[in-house]
């Protein structure tokens, strides 16, 4: 039995965990839900020794323990799959799996690679991943890496005697349906030895998998539910503290777009590194969703439009004007904005405050002769903090310390306030909670109404269907099928999946 009692944590003045009590019984699967920034990751990191709590205690079988580092936790059978990926890219898969626990493979100071590879293969088999354990990790796909991470945590099974506690922080957000099913079956099979904590923003998954559900809000546990009697609506209400609009995607606000005004046109564009042509037109006020399976080639299309990749041939026209040079600077100058998938890397600049982030793409508008008008910048930031209800102490707050949802709002505000007319959204709601998602959907509708053309690579198919005017199904880098998505006449999930695989 693993227990937290009255655990407190503050980050530089932000009270992240407020007297949290938490209990995991042997063999139990606990669902942990909460809005972005509720403190889920922090809570798990405390259990894993990656973050030190300020007050309260951690008990294992009733005895207080003090994990000074994850290593201490691992020795007690606690393992964690991080929300962000945590494999070391330049090492081989097997080294990653046994990182820090190479002892059994060392003889006379030398590592026996063959023995380690064998052991690694056993772990990979658990997650049904058939790759050479000597592969350099950076050569794997995102989903493969996620499975390797799971395999790494599962290695605890052999390493540690006794009970295990495995913490899974949003493991499913990047996995395909099949992979998620596999993960669930692995988790269920391991219950004999291990208990789990499972974090996800997909509440159906949570209810499906877990026994009990902890709901975290603003650093406090607001409720503990029995999963058998839980339903999505109540959980959401508890998380957010308000009712979720049944018109989740704001379909009521979907207005027809302007057929005559073509903002962007791809004419037989061959995307770098792929064999196929892509042609599409984006109109003012249109939301165009690109759907396809992971790796189908959606992201390269966005990156090509944004100028980060150079097309091998074909023409790209913005408002009728063919592009010759390709660079993000060029695209931004032509009114294109890009909300990247890797928010913490390409989206926000951590270490910079809110207004500095918001004007990063449009300093020209807030400066004269190269001299910045900081007053105007701050006014802009305050305006958008209000408009999007961004939770920050002030416009001087460091964006690196904001939660995912608030960071995403800052990124959106950056492009929106800059007047971009074409906005490329790559997984804009990835890792966001419902509250933040609804805000983002509202923004998409607002932009659409204002005549902005949007290309969307959505987190889920439902999202794509709900939000878009038009859907393009991508397979192997090529557009296979177009769907019209007028409200009331939207294609079904099945229609889309048929063409995706």
């Amino acid at each position: 039995m693993f227990e937290l009692k009255n655990v407190e944590k503050r980050y530089m003045g932000v009270h992240v965990l407020k007297g949290v009590d938490f209990r995991i019984d042997d063999g139990e699967i606990i669902g942990l839900v909460g809005e972005n920034g509720a403190g889920k990751s922090t809570l798990m990191k405390v259990m894993y020794g990656a973050v030190q709590h300020d007050a309260g205690s951690v008990l294992v079988d009733g005895a207080a323990v003090n994990f000074r580092s994850p290593r201490d936790a691992m020795k007690m059978g606690v393992g964690m799959v991080y929300q962000e990926q945590s494999l070391i890219p330049n090492l081989t898969v097997m080294e990653n799996i046994f990182l820090g626990f190479e002892k059994p493979f060392v003889r006379f100071g030398a590592i026996r690679w063959k023995k380690m590879a064998q052991a690694a293969r056993r772990q990979l088999a658990k997650v049904k991943l058939d790759i050479d354990p000597a592969t350099i990790t950076s050569h794997l796909t995102f989903a493969q890496r996620q499975l390797v991470e799971l395999a790494k945590v599962l290695a605890l099974e052999e390493r540690v005697e006794g009970r295990l506690v495995i913490l899974l922080d949003e493991p499913t957000s990047v996995l395909s349906r099949d992979e998620i099913d596999l993960l669930f079956s692995v988790v269920r099979a391991l219950r004999r030895r291990a208990s789990f904590i499972f974090v996800s923003h997909r509440l159906d998954e949570i209810i499906d998998l877990s026994d009990r559900i902890y709901v975290l809000k603003d650093g406090s546990v607001v409720d503990v539910l029995d999963a058998r009697h839980a339903d999505i609506g109540t959980i959401q209400k508890k998380m957010v503290g308000r009712d979720i609009n049944t018109e989740y995607y704001r379909e009521d606000r979907q207005a027809p777009y302007d057929e005559d005004k073509v903002l962007l046109e791809l004419d037989h564009v061959r995307i770098a590194g792929r064999g196929n042509d892509v042609s599409l037109r984006l109109h003012a006020g249109e939301v165009l969703a690109l759907v396809g399976v992971e790796g189908s080639g959606r992201e390269p299309i966005l990156r090509t439009i944004f100028g980060m990749l150079k097309p091998e041939k074909g023409t790209l026209r913005i408002r009728g004007e063919p592009m010759r040079a390709f660079s993000p600077a060029r695209s931004v100058a032509h009114g294109v904005g890009y909300v990247p998938r890797e928010r913490k890397v390409e989206g926000i600049a951590s270490g910079m405050n809110v207004f500095e982030n918001m004007t990063l793409s449009q300093m020209r508008n807030y400066s004269r002769g190269g001299v910045l008008d900081i007053g105007a910048e701050r006014a802009l930031a305050r305006e958008w903090i209000g408009k999007l209800s961004i939770k920050v102490p002030s416009e001087y707050a460091d964006c690196g310390n904001l939660s995912g949802g608030n960071q995403q709002k800052v990124v959106l505000a950056k492009w929106r306030s800059g007047g971009s007319e074409i906005i490329l959204l790559d997984h804009p709601t990835r890792g966001l909670d419902i509250g933040a998602k609804v805000d983002v959907y509202g923004m998409i509708r607002d932009m659409s109404a204002a005549g902005v053309g949007i290309i969307l690579v959505a987190d889920t198919l439902e999202e794509a269907i709900g939000l878009s005017h038009t859907i393009a199904v991508i397979k192997d880098g090529e557009i296979r099928k177009w769907f019209n998505c007028q409200p009331g006449a939207k294609p079904s999930l099945y229609d889309l999946i048929q063409h995706m695989v």
Partner: protein
């Protein structure tokens, strides 16, 4: 994808190709370049530099940097020489104790360096730069600015005795290089250096004691600096504060030219061997082809840029610092 991997595999060999290309170029201009005797000369000047560069390679693999080598080499060299002379003046007698003694001193200085860096949380650049000053100061304090001469013929045989045309010190250095390679590729410690260099926060999250590893890396570097110091003394028969001079920028340049990334996690001691040889071949070659001395700094600069340019996989890097 495959073509991409093939290029990647080829790129590993670029530093070696650069080395061969440089040798060819110098040979064409002056055929004397391509001779066993000249290669032996290059080996002599490269030996101490190689040890120092191998030492700093471990630190760079972890993504840190060490600028203390000039101080450490100076202290190790003068203490080694003092000990050797005090213990009878010959490594045939008790003088051999000076060798492990010097290695210990190197390790101790490395440990101080690592601990200041890790425990005071001062970036390695600043910690090691400051400790470099302290090291040079220490050797000055020990010698009072004087030189210590070593004329033990047995010790000097590292320079004077040749096997297959190369002096013994070249073989000794090769042996040390093999040890370094073993540490790097076949010990947990060596592999963990790569882990730290690849992604430090992730390594920490996986339970590695990164601070301890850092300190160990600096200790290891210190031991290799001490080896460099011993070879430098063997080469000139003189130990003084100046023995450490010029190692700082040259060793780091060699490491990078060899293809080890300054951001850590990629490269290794074989790259360093190639890098040290490139830098020393350029130094030797410029004299051999009779390039005017006032152009030598500039030409070295140009060639270094060219070598690093050729061996960098620019596609994989969005930017460098």
């Amino acid at each position: 994808m495959n073509r991409f991997l093939a290029m990647d595999a080829l790129r590993k060999w670029v530093p070696l190709l650069v080395l061969v290309g440089l040798c060819l170029f110098f040979t064409v201009v002056n055929p004397n370049f391509l001779s066993l005797r000249n290669f032996a000369r290059i080996a002599i000047s490269a030996t101490p530099a190689l040890m120092v560069a191998v030492g700093v390679t471990f630190v760079i693999l972890m993504g840190s940097i060490d600028l203390s080598m000039e101080g450490t080499v100076a202290v190790c060299a003068v203490l080694f020489a003092l000990a050797l002379n005090a213990l009878g003046g010959s490594i045939a007698g008790w003088g051999w104790v000076a060798i492990p003694g010097a290695l210990l001193v190197g390790a101790a200085l490395g440990a101080v360096n690592g601990m200041v860096h890790v425990m005071l949380r001062i970036p390695s650049f600043m910690a090691s730069l400051s400790l470099g000053f302290v090291g040079i100061g220490l050797s000055l304090l020990i010698t009072g600015g004087n030189r210590i001469l070593i004329d033990d013929p047995l010790f000097r045989s590292l320079l004077t005795v040749r096997v297959w045309g190369f002096p013994l010190m070249a073989y000794a250095a090769l042996g040390c290089l093999l040890v370094a390679w073993f540490i790097q590729d076949h010990t947990t410690m060596g592999r963990n250096f790569y882990a730290v260099g690849g992604a430090e926060d992730l390594a920490r999250a996986s339970g590695l004691d990164v601070g301890r590893l850092r300190i160990i890396g600096f200790v290891l570097a210190g031991v290799f600096y001490a080896l460099g110091a011993i070879f430098a003394v063997a080469r000139l028969g003189i130990a003084e504060t100046e023995t450490g001079r010029n190692f700082m920028f040259m060793s780091i340049t060699s490491v990078v030219v060899g293809g080890t990334a300054l951001r850590g996690g990629a490269g290794g001691v074989w790259n360093t061997l190639v890098g040290v040889l490139i830098v020393n071949v350029i130094g030797n070659g410029m004299v051999v082809i009779g390039l005017a001395d006032y152009f030598q700094d500039g030409v070295l600069g140009l060639l270094v840029i060219a070598a690093v340019y050729l061996s960098t996989n620019r596609q994989s890097l969005s930017f460098v610092k």
